[in-house]
Every structure is written in structure tokens, then in C-alpha cells.
């Protein structure tokens, strides 16, 4: 392997309002290597890549490209400097044809010669074995083909650095192999490839080096042979393999009556968002968790339970009685609450006051024609602001001006106020400070001891171990295991997530 660095990033910093997305991150890419960039959700991988490609301006640090210091102003600038990118979300225009998408923004001259573009696009598609026609509208193609087209576009650019940000999540086995062959070809030509993925097998199949990020900070750079799989997982999750002390908090598991009628039971629940039908039940006072890497279907499963997406089939029983949950209001009326994964998109109602955000769910359950009096609403808000010690200037402050942790507490307050039997918390601790994380976990245990059933999802496995008495492990939209009791330890969980192989 040649050892000259084609890309060097030193001390990269990026701040978003209230969040340090990247802090002093170094990254080195050598000529002709495939370099995996790893880290859990929110670790800063995508941010690092967007800084590199000029989508976000960086707040600190230097970038050198083949030894020359560069300043990348825009995605176009990055393209011109020889950085080609395939983003995680498909960033093509669905209304244009395949060929247009492959060549737009990178042809010279004011006119375009469609015959030439279509034929060269066709040739490239054939070469890569992509089953799409150049003149087909991109929006009509499957997501996998769209992703392949994005890859074809990037590959066709005469680039020094190729960035693949989770390109394989929508590809099947065969397509992935095709992509890997392509990557190996490019590698032989001396192109440096940055490969971001959540699939560990893929990393070990094609990559030479791994850089691990966590919470916006660099954990380290490793040669692939020196970093066994389980260690990689532990690095990503932030627990050193050696000192994984058993911090299990077995909170009165004995008290839970596993033989009784479950509070919530789903049989063969089928969603429409790409998860396989699954069975699930939860008992009074139990805290369970769904785990698995991003994209494994853990969020989709709980959304199906809440009726957030269209449910295609299956039976649902609440306290043993069969009920129909078609939309969120049905679930709420049956005592289920759901704190969504994406706080900004699905959780907060940004411009509304903290008070309105707190009472929203209970208000909706009470009905359109029965608004709470102002005094009542203030009382509720006061109570929960105190209970969860939410830091806000006043009840009237718009929620969007609060910090992430306090926003999350407000959403939590909203659902606690609704007084559910069964509370689903999807990543309640993501993107918030450590203190609040601990508070939320304590609250979860307290609620469970009061007899509520809780599903708790977190990317941080030790949080799950601390709070949950049972873990449902998912991979590729399927439930692949259920762990409880003594099996609830880092090693076992990681092994199950990673796919059976341990160390």
C-alpha cells in the first residue's frame, strides 16, 4: 500500500447552535486505501463528511488535499477539487432522468448533447451492471437503483477522493458485491475511498483502516487487522472492552409477573416500513428495550406499535382484550405513549410555548371542545417543569429556544402528563448532556417501579443494560434474539448484534 496521504484533516471543529458536532477531529486518507469511518448515530460521521464536501462551512481546523492546503467552499468546489461523494440520503433529483442525474452540474459549455450523454451513461450503467436505462426518470427507479446511479455518478468523476456515506443500506447482497468490486478497482487505481457504513461485515470485507468517532470526538485510527470486531463495537459504543464492569441494576425483576396478562401484546404485527412481522409483549412494571444498529428496524417496530405508520396486519391486545390501533390517537386512548426518535421532526412543535407543548397530548385526548383553562394548563406545566427540573425562562418560552436536553424533557413531560400504562421511549437520551441522560434513566426505573410498562431504546448499550430487564435484538428488520437475566451483558449483546460471532 502506498503511504502518501491524499487527504488530511486536522483539528476539524463544527458547532451547531447548542451542539458541538465535531471537536478537534483528525482524519487521514492515504492513496489507494479504503478507509472506514465508524461511529454510532450522532457521532459526527455525516457532519465530518459534509464539512469535507463544503455543505457546511467548518468552524476550525485545516484540510490538505495531496499536500496542498485547500478551502472548500461549496459542493461544486469539492467536485472540482476531485472529491466525489455519495451521500447517505439520496441527493439526486427524482424528476430528472438517470443520465441527466449522472451528468448534471459537471458538463462544460452551455449546451448539452443528449445523444452523447445518454450513450456514455448507458455504457457506464452497463459496465457497472446497473439495470436502469439512461432515459428513465430517476423517481421511477427503485431506491437501490437510485443509490447505484449516485455511485455511478461519483465513480465516473475523475476523483482523488471518493466518499461513500452509507451507500449499502438499500442494496442487496449481489449489488453490494458489485459495489465492492468497483471499490477494489478504484483502489488499485490509487483513489482514496472513505466508506461509512453500519454493517460490520462489510467493513471487514473491504476496508484497510478504520477511524472511529464518538460524540463528535476522535476515538482513534486503527489498521483493520489490529481491531477485532467486538473491540470495534465497544469503541463505537464507548465502553472499553476490558473494564466492562457489570453495572446491572436488577430492579425488582422478581416482582414482574411474567405469567400474568401482558399490558400490551402484539401478534404478527406487520408494518409498512420494511420490517418483518413480529410478536411482542410487555408486562406491568417491566422495562424492555429494542436494540440493534441503526437501520435494524428498532424504531420502525415501536412506530408500528404506536400506529405512527400505516399498520398492514396483525393482532394487538391491551390487557388481554383485542383492540384496533390504526392511528396515534387510538394508541393514546389505549394508554400508550410514544416519544419519537427524531425530536425535531416528530417531537417538538417548535414555535409553541413550553406550556402548550406539555399539555398537547393530554389536551388532544380530552377533546377538541374541552380546552383546559389557562390556570389548569399553567398548573400542569408548573408541576412538570418542577418534577423534571426543566430549565426554561418561563412557560411561555417557545420550545425551540430550549437546549436539546430540556426539549426532550418537555416531550417527556407531555407523555407523562398523558398518564400512560405503556410508555415507549425511542432514543430519549440522544444528543443531550450526560446529566440529563442519567436523570432520564432514573426516571424510567422510577416509573417502572410505580407499575408502568416501558420500552426504552438507546444507541448506548450500557444505558440499556442499566435500565432494561429484557432486550429484543434486531438485525435487518428482523427480531434475531431476546436476551434477559444473565445474558444481559455487553459481550453477549454485541455478539448478537454483530451476528453470532464473538471475538
Amino acid at each position: 500500500m502506498k503511504d502518501s496521504a491524499v487527504l488530511e484533516m486536522r483539528g476539524i471543529c463544527k458547532f451547531f447552535p447548542g451542539v458541538r458536532a465535531l471537536e478537534n477531529v483528525d482524519f487521514t486518507l492515504r492513496e489507494g486505501e479504503i478507509h472506514a469511518l465508524m461511529g454510532e448515530n450522532g457521532a459526527g460521521k455525516s457532519t465530518l463528511i459534509k464539512v469535507l464536501t463544503g455543505v457546511y462551512p467548518k468552524d476550525g481546523g485545516d484540510v490538505t488535499l495531496s499536500g496542498q492546503p485547500v478551502h472548500i467552499k461549496s459542493p461544486q468546489d469539492a467536485q472540482n477539487k476531485g472529491i466525489a461523494t455519495v451521500y447517505q440520503e439520496i441527493t439526486l433529483c427524482p424528476n430528472l432522468t438517470v443520465a441527466e442525474n449522472m451528468y448534471i452540474g459537471r458538463t462544460s459549455g452551455p449546451f448539452t448533447n443528449w445523444n452523447k450523454i445518454n450513450s456514455s451513461a448507458g455504457k457506464l450503467l452497463d459496465e457497472l451492471g446497473i439495470p436502469a436505462l439512461p432515459t428513465e426518470q430517476l423517481g421511477n427507479c427503485s431506491i437501490a437503483i437510485q443509490q447505484m446511479v449516485a455511485i455511478a455518478r461519483a465513480v465516473d468523476m475523475d476523483c482523488k477522493v471518493l466518499i461513500l456515506d452509507e451507500p449499502t443500506s438499500s442494496l442487496d447482497e449481489q449489488e453490494v458485491q458489485k459495489l465492492f468490486n468497483l471499490m477494489r478497482d478504484l483502489k488499485a487505481k490509487g483513489v482514496g475511498i472513505i466508506f461509512v457504513t453500519h454493517f460490520l461485515e462489510q467493513v471487514y470485507e473491504v476496508c484497510d483502516r478504520i477511524t472511529v468517532l464518538r460524540d463528535g470526538k476522535l476515538v482513534g485510527e486503527y489498521v483493520i487487522e489490529d481491531l477485532p470486531r467486538v473491540q470495534l463495537v465497544s469503541k463505537m459504543l464507548g465502553k472499553d472492552f476490558d473494564d466492562m464492569a457489570e453495572i446491572k441494576n436488577d430492579a425488582d425483576i422478581e416482582k414482574i409477573d411474567y405469567n400474568g396478562v401482558p399490558v400490551y401484546q402484539a401478534i404478527n404485527l406487520t408494518g409498512t416500513t420494511g420490517i418483518k412481522p413480529f410478536d411482542f409483549e410487555i408486562h406491568k412494571g417491566e422495562v424492555n428495550g429494542f436494540t440493534g444498529l441503526l437501520g435494524s428496524g428498532r424504531s420502525e417496530s415501536v412506530r408500528a406499535i404506536f400506529g405512527a405508520d400505516r399498520v398492514a396486519g396483525g393482532t394487538v391486545k391491551i390487557d388481554g382484550k383485542e383492540v384496533k390501533i390504526r392511528k396515534p390517537l387510538d394508541a393514546m386512548k389505549h394508554g400508550i405513549s410514544y416519544l419519537p426518535e427524531d425530536r425535531k421532526l416528530d417531537g417538538i412543535v417548535g414555535d409553541l410555548s413550553v406550556r402548550d407543548n406539555i399539555i398537547l397530548a393530554l389536551q388532544v385526548m380530552k377533546g377538541f371542545f374541552k380546552p383546559f383553562s389557562r390556570a389548569q394548563a399553567e398548573k400542569f406545566a408548573d408541576e412538570y417543569i418542577k418534577l423534571l427540573s426543566i430549565k426554561t425562562a418561563s412557560q411561555d418560552t417557545p420550545i425551540k429556544s430550549l437546549s436539546g436536553g430540556n426539549q426532550q424533557k418537555v416531550i417527556l413531560a407531555r407523555w407523562l402528563l398523558a398518564n400512560p400504562q405503556y410508555l415507549i421511549l425511542d432514543e430519549p437520551t440522544r444528543g443531550i448532556d450526560v446529566g440529563t441522560k442519567v436523570e432520564i434513566q432514573k426516571l424510567v426505573l422510577k416509573l417502572a417501579s410505580e407499575g408502568k410498562s416501558i420500552t426504552f431504546i438507546s444507541s448506548e448499550i450500557d444505558e440499556m443494560i442499566r435500565t432494561c430487564s429484557r432486550l429484543v435484538v434486531m438485525r435487518d428488520g428482523k427480531v434475531v434474539g431476546e436476551l434477559k437475566g444473565d445474558d444481559l451483558n455487553q459481550n453477549k449483546i454485541m455478539a448478537t448484534i454483530a451476528g453470532g460471532e464473538s471475538k
Partner: protein
């Protein structure tokens, strides 16, 4: 110590000032004040109100101020509905002028069938029937717009373009394009004066509408729901709200507002001109919402502010009319200047500039404080 307190008081004064500026009522109130001052200077007699006998011999109040308040009635009522639609759907209804024509035409269709000078009780019954029918028809047209927006996900402006195009023709069709004028004087009471009462009737109707909507907002969750839907539809859905129904509902409410406006409009003249009635009122109504400081992209709204905005626009129009050399239709050029100023003031771009400026000042202050400490 003393300097410290000084700085603090200055800060709180600045904060107080900032609060006023940030208040939604700020822009319409300032605009209103400017107009009042301008008129006082150019014509000290502008605000004179007199109690004079009218052409029919009743004692009525007259004066510019009364004219403004009277003429603004339809605009105010429309602004209420438009504000709700804007809040929930993040777009505006441009068909209101045309649907006012439909509503007015519906009323006349019923009323024209009656012989003039029918007895009082029969007259009252006729008015109630015609008004109710007009409300139903307008609400249905509102629901049509709302359904296109909510269920077919067509942008409000485009969806309402259909009725904008066809509405006046439908109005004409309802009455077979006849020129109708109602001879019964009592029909004109609702748009002009009721004998013995010196204040124009539309003013009372407007006040009634404002009270009704205030009660609706107090006794239902309309405000919370439509704001939530307008700000974050996905989040609202996960909280059990049905965003589609809320959008539809706001359009139906606007339809009812339109019905009231149409009724007042035809009562004013006891007749209808299909192509001219309530011409361009949609633009004024949208402007009133914007002038009230409401975000045209949906979300939070302030009805008081919109209502005030509507009065300001009518004030502006009347003021411009006062200048004899200005032709009535060139008023829009001056309105355009107001609109442009407004959008510039309320744009995210300018807000960002102000925020940057504030941040810089704060940073400078902090730096100065650090410097002081060191010294």
C-alpha cells in the same frame, strides 16, 4: 457598584424596548400611528365626526373615521378567516373575492323572489333563510378548497385558483346573470344604517364576528390545533391530531366569514355587479394577515393583530383616496411600497442581520467585561 446598576438598568430598558418591538402588535400599531399623524398634519379636520341627518332623514354619524371603520368591516371579517387558514395550511386563499360574489348572489337569489314591502315577520324569515343558505353554500365552497388542500395536497394558492377563475361566473350563473336590485329599503339596513341607530350596521356585525371567534378560540382548541398543524404537521399527527381535518375546518370557517362578507356587500348596495363586487379583496386580506405580523408560512397567529392590520389597510386606502390627484386604481402602487417594506422587515434575512448585530454587540460587551476584569 454604581456603574454596574447603570448598565443593568440600561440593559433592562433595552430589553423592554426589544420586547415591544418583538410584539406582534408593534408593526400595525406603528403603521396606524404614522397614518394618524400624517393625516392630522395634512388635514386637521380629518378626524372630525359629526351627527348629521342622512338623505333618508335619519340622524347618523359621519366623518372619515366612521367611513374607515364601516368600510373595513368586510376586510376585518375576512382577515379572521384568512389568518386561521394561513396558520393551519401555510398558504392563502385567493378565491375569497370570487366566493363573496357567490355568497352575495345566493342571498339575492332568495330575496328577489319576494314582493317588496312584505310584512315584517315574513321579511325577517326571508332574511334568515337567505343568510343561512348563503352560509351553507359558502361553507361548501370553503370545504371544496379545503379538501383540495388537505386531501389532495395541492398548494392553497393553486387550489383556490380554481374558484378564483370560476367563482364570479358561478355567482352570475346562480342568478342567470340578471341585474338584480332589491327595492325593499329594509334589505339595505344590514349594509348601511338601521333607522334610529347612528352607527353603521356592519360595525355591529363585525363586532359580533370578533366576539364569536373569540368565544370559539376560548371554548375550543382551535388555536392550539391549527398552530400545531401549521408548525409541525408530523409531530401533531403523532400527538393524535388529524392535520387534514384541521386544515379542512379552517377553510370551512373562512367560508362562513365569506358568507357574512357577501351578505354585507350586497346589502350595502341592494344589488350586485358580479365582476366588480369585492374586487381584489383577497389581496387586501392577505396583506392584513401579513401586516399583522403573522407568518405567511403558517404556524403561530395573532387575530387581534390581523384585525388591526385590516383596519390599517382600510385607513391607508381611505387616506390615499383623500388625495384628489391620485386616481383610485393607482393606490395599488403605494400599497406595493408598503408590502415591499413589510416583507423586507419581516424577512428571515433581515432578522438574521439584526440577530448577528445583536450577537456581535453582546460579544463586544462580554469582551469589554473581560477586559475590565483583567484591568
Amino acid at each position: 457598584m454604581t456603574t454596574d446598576t447603570k448598565v443593568q438598568s440600561k440593559g433592562s430598558a433595552g430589553e423592554f424596548f426589544g420586547k415591544i418591538i418583538r410584539n406582534q402588535l408593534f408593526i400595525p400599531i406603528v403603521a396606524l400611528t404614522l397614518l394618524v399623524i400624517f393625516n392630522l398634519i395634512s388635514d386637521p379636520g380629518f378626524f372630525k365626526i359629526a351627527l348629521e341627518p342622512s338623505s333618508t332623514g335619519n340622524l347618523i354619524l359621519s366623518g372619515n373615521l366612521i367611513t374607515i371603520i364601516d368600510n373595513a368591516s368586510e376586510l376585518v371579517i375576512l382577515a379572521i378567516g384568512m389568518t386561521l387558514v394561513t396558520s393551519a395550511s401555510g398558504g392563502q386563499d385567493i378565491s375569497v373575492g370570487a366566493t363573496i360574489a357567490i355568497a352575495g348572489s345566493t342571498v339575492l337569489r332568495i330575496v328577489k323572489g319576494y314582493a317588496p314591502d312584505i310584512p315584517g315577520s315574513q321579511f325577517a324569515g326571508m332574511i334568515i333563510v337567505s343568510f343561512l343558505l348563503c352560509v351553507v353554500v359558502s361553507a361548501l365552497f370553503g370545504a371544496f378548497n379545503g379538501a383540495l388542500v388537505a386531501f389532495f395536497k395541492i398548494q392553497p394558492m393553486v387550489a383556490t385558483l380554481i374558484l378564483f377563475t370560476a367563482g364570479r361566473s358561478i355567482a352570475a350563473w346562480i342568478n342567470n346573470n340578471d341585474n338584480i336590485s332589491i327595492n325593499d329599503k329594509r334589505f339595505g339596513y344590514f349594509g348601511n344604517f338601521i333607522p334610529g341607530i347612528p352607527v353603521p350596521t356592519p360595525v355591529f356585525i363585525t363586532i359580533f364576528c370578533i366576539i364569536v371567534i373569540a368565544l370559539v378560540l376560548k371554548f375550543t382548541n382551535l388555536r392550539l390545533y391549527s398552530q400545531s398543524v401549521g408548525i409541525n404537521a408530523s409531530s401533531s399527527r403523532l400527538n393524535g391530531i388529524n392535520p387534514k381535518m384541521i386544515k379542512l375546518l379552517t377553510f370551512v370557517i373562512l367560508g362562513v366569514c365569506v358568507a357574512v362578507c357577501g351578505f354585507i356587500k350586497v346589502s350595502r348596495t341592494s344589488s350586485i355587479t358580479y365582476s366588480v363586487i369585492a374586487n381584489n379583496i383577497e389581496m387586501d386580506a392577505i396583506l392584513a394577515v401579513a401586516l399583522g405580523g403573522n407568518n405567511l408560512g403558517g404556524g403561530k397567529f395573532n387575530l387581534t393583530s390581523s384585525v388591526l392590520g385590516a383596519y390599517v389597510i382600510q385607513f391607508l386606502t381611505t387616506t390615499l383616496y383623500k388625495f384628489k390627484e391620485i386616481d383610485s386604481s393607482s393606490i395599488s402602487a403605494y400599497k406595493a411600497v408598503v408590502v415591499i417594506l413589510l416583507i423586507i422587515i419581516s424577512s428571515p434575512f433581515v432578522r438574521k442581520l439584526i440577530e448577528d448585530f445583536k450577537n456581535k454587540r453582546e460579544a463586544a460587551k462580554a469582551e469589554a467585561a473581560v477586559g475590565k476584569e483583567k484591568a
